[in-house]
């Protein structure tokens, strides 16, 4: 019991619960089945990207090109959709093509980071800028809306299982799948090992380059899937819609207790981080808090969550050090 209470996700669970209780008192609309799943649906894109980003951050890297890659896939997949026939095969094709483009773009980041050893932030800033420029050049900012998509895609986007949108299921599958990879597969353990201590893991025989290409490639894959979620969510392609979104993705991961310098992070934590950001955005409108104060409140809650987590972590480390001295 104590170990659960002291686990690193506990602080953020506490804040999410506290916030939810307050909000359900303030607004009866908050704690309804519909609203909770609307929050999940609205933040599925954020969640999918944050799950991928967790892996990148665990290895001590960062990928600021996620929003750009997602938009690029959105634009290409959107164009692709307009020429597809109105049959279920189109959806299947979409699920092949979009992740594929994502993996290619992600792997490009991975290869630059690992083989040429340019710092991740420099590489991804570069690719972000390039991709954004190319998108703007290709699309010139024009929208595609649902009328240009085949009807089957609109049906897919509106598809619900037990009243829960298919987008939420995509998010859930990604989160659980990644959790499994991280916990039970060799490559997943290698990711954690590299994050924990790079030098020792290399000496233990882990191929560092391979791990890096894997995490960035995986990030790209998830960006491709996030693009499908984004397309289904907005049923339109907005080339500017995700501008600056990478900051929210990184914020969600860090809120979830990941250490931005690498080594620490979990899928559960990230999920909670996404949930916290989502609940805040939703709740502040439901609670009718003045628009200018909303930003202040968001900032305050983020600071509280992160400092609480950091203090907890430091304490547990201090304890660890003390035991060593005594022994």
């Amino acid at each position: 019991m104590k170990s659960i209470l002291q686990s690193k996700e506990m602080s953020i669970v506490a804040i999410v619960v506290l916030l939810s209780i307050t909000l359900s008192f303030v607004s009866p609309a908050f704690l309804t089945f519909e609203n909770i799943f609307d929050i999940l649906k609205g933040n599925a894109v954020l969640g999918i990207l944050a799950v991928g980003m967790t892996l990148v951050i665990i290895t001590g890297g960062i990928d600021v090109s996620v929003a750009a890659v997602t938009t690029a896939v959105c634009v290409m997949a959107g164009k692709f959709l307009t020429v597809l026939p109105d049959s279920p095969i189109s959806i299947l094709l979409l699920f092949i093509v979009a992740p594929l483009i994502g993996v290619l773009l992600g792997a490009l980041n991975g290869i630059l980071v690992s083989k040429i050893q340019i710092p991740a932030i420099v590489v991804t800033l570069g690719t972000m800028s390039m991709i954004n420029g190319i998108i703007l050049y290709l699309t010139n900012g024009t929208y595609l809306n649902s009328t240009s998509f085949p009807k089957i895609f609109v049906d897919f986007a509106n598809f619900q299982i037990f009243g829960v949108s298919v987008i939420v299921f995509i998010f859930a599958i990604i989160a659980v799948g990644t959790w499994y990879i991280l916990k039970y597969t060799v490559i997943g353990r290698e990711v954690l090992a590299v994050g924990g201590n790079k030098e020792s893991s290399i000496r233990a025989g882990i191929n560092f380059d391979k791990v890096q290409i894997f995490v960035y490639g995986y990030m790209g894959l998830l960006a491709g899937i996030a693009a499908i979620a984004q397309l289904s969510y907005t049923k339109a392609v907005d080339p500017n819609g995700l501008l600056g979104f990478e900051l929210q993705v990184i914020a969600a991961v860090v809120l979830g207790g990941a250490n931005i310098l690498g080594g620490r992070g979990s899928i559960m934590g990230t999920f909670l981080g996404v949930l916290l950001l989502g609940i805040m955005q939703n709740g502040l409108i439901l609670a009718r808090i003045d628009i200018f104060w909303q930003k202040v409140v968001v900032g305050t809650i983020i600071l509280i969550a992160v400092s609480y987590d950091q203090i907890q972590y430091k304490r547990s480390k201090d304890k660890l050090a003390k035991i060593e001295v005594e022994a």
Partner: protein, 346 residues
């Protein structure tokens, strides 16, 4: 290894530089001829039109008008701006234009105050400065081209919403592109005035809600609004993106008949929503005409001609000039409905 790194880095930087060249090239290309190099040798006037940002449908449409005017009137038009609605980036764009020695700069400021110093600098170099779309600091500009009389526009939108709701009482909400956008704010003020004066029973459920000029954000916030205000009767959405996001939420929840949405939307984007009634009416001016008018008046300004009230501008129509002699109003707004939305190509 280190040497290799240095070479790689310089390569990356070089590529960066090159891409910079490419983008500036393409922007001047879109401005007609290769205006950057032969600075004014051919004697053609060079008019720079700076939008808030490039790459959104609205400013693409006004670009078309501006370029067309350049062709018709025999002037070089450089249409260039930042890729994000960011004041600092816009300052840089104007700095570049000053060093290109253009004759007139017409700017749609993202933040009027932030542009004042650089516009003063342009003036000192003998460049005529004017604003379009959104007013800049009035002490530095010689001409101010408005698409619309802001207050009248706001009032018109408010009246249209009341008409679509079909009753003079109830709860409504306002969505806006950004809290600091000067023109959006003055329209909203106009709309609020109209409501206060003529429709006292209409209640605003909250202060205006910012949607960051992004469709998914507008969609999400509208969903939240509907949930927290089950009695909501109508939504006014300002900025060309916000009405689309709001209409999408209404469409998805099937509330077309319960909640009226009126907003400043472009016809092509809003057509599918106008057709099923999730967006009741889009109200805006024709942005290509605004681009055209800006260039036409910029040319007159460079030639030393002042606009006159009631003047007929070719391809635009009659314009209105205020008593200060520099505020120009293009004309009344255009209503886009399910019937006429197909006639426009932006």
């Amino acid at each position: 290894m280190k040497k290799f790194l240095v070479t790689m880095l310089s390569l990356v930087l070089m590529i960066g530089l090159l891409t910079g060249c490419v983008s500036s090239n393409s922007s001047s290309k879109s401005g007609g001829e290769d205006s950057g190099k032969e600075s004014g040798k051919d004697g053609k006037l060079k008019i720079a039109v700076v939008p808030k940002l490039v790459g959104i449908p609205y400013f693409n449409a006004s670009e078309k008008g501006a370029i067309q005017a350049g062709k018709d009137l025999g002037v070089d038009v450089i249409y260039t701006g930042p890729t994000e609605a960011d004041a600092a980036q816009q300052v840089k764009v104007i700095e570049d234009l000053i060093s290109q020695k253009v004759d007139v700069i017409a700017v749609a400021p993202n933040d009027p105050a932030a542009l004042t110093p650089v516009l003063k600098k342009a003036k000192e170099q003998g460049i005529k400065v004017m604003d379009w779309d959104t007013p800049a600091d009035q002490s530095v500009v010689e001409l101010s081209v408005h698409q619309i009389d802001d207050e009248a526009f706001g009032r018109h939108i408010a009246k249209s919403l009341i008409e679509k709701i079909g009753s003079e009482e109830g709860d409504i909400a306002i969505l806006t592109g950004g809290l600091s956008a000067a023109n959006l704010n003055s329209w909203i003020d106009g709309a609020k005035k109209e409501l206060d004066e003529n429709f006292p029973k209409i209640k605003l459920v909250s202060d205006k809600i910012a949607t960051d000029e992004k469709q998914p954000v507008a969609y999400q916030k509208t969903l939240d609004l509907i949930k927290s205000n089950p009695e909501l009767k109508g939504i006014m959405a300002y900025s060309t993106i916000a009405p689309i996001g709001a209409a999408q939420a209404i469409q998805e929840k099937g509330l077309q008949d319960k909640i009226a949405v009126v907003g400043t939307a472009l016809p092509k984007d809003s057509k599918p929503f106008l057709e099923d009634g999730s967006l009741d009416v889009g109200i805006l001016w024709e942005p290509d005409k605004l681009g055209y008018l800006t260039v036409a008046l910029a040319k007159d300004l460079a030639d030393g001609k002042k606009p006159e009230n009631g003047q007929e501008v070719e391809n635009v129509g009659k314009i209105e000039v205020w008593e200060d002699g520099k505020t120009v109003i293009m004309g009344p707004p255009t209503d886009f409905t399910a019937e006429n939305a197909g006639d426009f190509n932006y």
